[in-house]
């Protein structure tokens, strides 16, 4: 019992520390408000030039100035480009993953969805997200993003404790505990390493040469990888994929319906999304 209080005291001190650092009120998400988030994001702004500070004042953790896009219409013509020397392999793997989804993942996830209530599935998703904390934390550290790293660590503590092992996500309501998610692949991008070329992995899906190195790093940073024997580790990963897919059923179908050329659409979508994340 004494230990419990000790742990609680340490955690409380830690959390208070977090709260102090971020100083902004833990404002809940305010619907219909044009000013959401104005209270955050000011503590690191001292070191920034005035203009940047003004632009950043609106959002917590907003590093990108999307306003650049608005300057000249021509700027938007300059789309993200990616070389695709492995196009035949990639198309084959795209096809393989497509079938994997429709023939295996979708039926399994649909059955699972029918049995397990949504609340439980969201809990499992939260749990896996929470224990993958080292990936995001390292991603922050590799980019020297101290503030975001602290936020990640705080969220991990907060959700592990108050979210009962990470199944709950009480940190969701605190914008300053929800930094944009980082990973090693993004850090490599931040260091100036380019995408290399596009590659579609079986099962894992779209990636690039750089992000594949990131995926390898993710593997070593994910606690699930260290579960012995390896068979159990695979099973747990499989469970995560089925669980998370059960929450996004229909998304892939909608994507395919929207696309005129699904392969090209996915390639562009992947590269755009990663580019945005690297800039963030």
């Amino acid at each position: 019992m004494r230990y419990f209080f000790l742990v609680f005291a340490v955690l409380a001190a830690f959390l208070l520390g977090c709260a102090y650092k971020h100083s902004g009120p833990p404002s809940l998400v305010v619907p219909d408000a044009a000013v959401t988030g104005n209270a955050q994001g000011k503590d690191r702004s001292e070191s920034l030039p005035v203009l940047e500070r003004e632009l950043q004042a609106g959002l917590p953790f907003d590093g990108v100035d999307e306003f650049d896009d608005l300057d000249e219409p021509e700027a938007e013509e300059e789309e993200v480009r990616i070389s695709d020397p492995l196009v035949y392999w990639n198309k084959a793997m795209f096809h393989f993953n497509d079938k994997l989804y429709f023939w295996l993942l979708k039926p399994v996830a649909t059955g699972y969805k029918a049995i397990v209530p949504e609340t439980a599935r969201i809990g499992v998703k939260n749990f896996f997200h929470n224990i993958a904390f080292p990936i995001r934390f390292t991603g922050c550290l590799l980019q020297a993003k101290g503030r975001e790293a602290t936020a990640e660590a705080c969220r991990f503590m907060f959700n592990s404790f108050f979210g009962v092992g990470g199944f709950g996500n009480p940190a969701k309501n605190y914008p300053h505990l929800n930094p944009p998610e980082e990973d090693p692949g993004q850090a490599f991008g931040r260091w100036g390493i380019g995408n290399g070329f596009y590659i579609v992995w079986p099962v894992l899906g779209p990636s690039t040469l750089r992000d594949s190195a990131g995926l390898a790093a993710n593997h070593f940073l994910n606690p699930v990888s260290y579960v012995e024997p390896a068979r159990d580790s695979f099973a747990i990963t499989g469970a995560r994929v089925v669980n998370n897919s059960s929450l996004t059923l229909g998304d892939y179908e909608a994507f395919k319906k929207a696309a005129i050329d699904p392969y090209a659409s996915m390639r562009n979508g992947y590269v755009q999304e990663r580019k945005k994340k690297v800039e963030q």
Binding site: T36, E79, K125, G250, K257, D261
Partner: protein
């Protein structure tokens, strides 16, 4: 009271009046408000119990399309999607492309919004520069939140959407990358044929 005193006394009123004149054009016509009005209107239609029934499907789609028509800048959006390739189409092809692509994009957008109909949309903020604006919104789902940004341009008839950015992926840019390959490999007629099939799925 002296004349000067009179003016001074009325200064606050005059000031308030002037500022009202300066501000009033902005009332009800910012980019953010335009998005909010249109998206809320779409959600209202989707949530309207009288329109939930299958028999009301046609009326519902008609309503949704009339909102979409006021919301999007179809010609700008189509031209932007083809980029440099716009010039390689003849004027008849351009016209047909605009028509087909806006139908398809409208379908895609309404499909996505339809999937979000039970979720809350938060209208966060806007950034405006001259006749362009970027509006940030978020769709709050039970298991995740999806950022949806609108790129807008100010036309005579108000703010119009020319691109939708979902989770960091610009739709216009995404389609441009697809069309570029099709136009390079197969030509405009093939692109139009593909679009005719796609848009025909659920045309208006």
């Amino acid at each position: 009271m002296t004349k000067r005193g009179m003016v001074l006394q009325r200064l606050p009123i005059i000031f308030a009046f002037i500022s009202f004149i300066l501000v009033s054009p902005a009332l009800g016509s910012t980019a953010l408000e335009a998005v909010e009005t249109n998206v809320s209107a779409v959600l209202d239609v989707l949530r309207d119990p009288a329109l939930k029934d299958d028999s009301a499907k046609e009326a519902k789609e008609k309503k949704l399309w009339s909102i979409a028509d006021t919301m999007f800048d179809y010609p700008g959006l189509s031209k932007r999607t083809l980029g440099k390739n716009w010039e390689t189409l003849n004027s008849k092809q351009q016209e047909e492309f605009t028509d087909l692509f806006s139908t398809h994009l409208g379908n895609v957008y309404l499909d996505r919004i339809l999937a979000y109909s039970n979720e809350k949309v938060v209208f966060d903020k806007e950034k405006t520069k001259e006749d362009r604006a970027l509006v940030n919104t978020r769709v709050l789902g039970p298991s995740k939140e999806i950022p949806v940004d609108y790129r807008m341009v100010l036309k005579d008839s108000g703010w119009k959407v020319y691109d939708v950015v979902i989770e960091g992926v610009s739709l216009v840019e995404n389609y441009r990358s697809q069309f570029k390959e099709i136009l390079r490999d197969k030509g405009p007629e093939y692109l139009l044929e593909t679009l005719r099939e796609k848009a025909g799925d659920k045309g208006r």
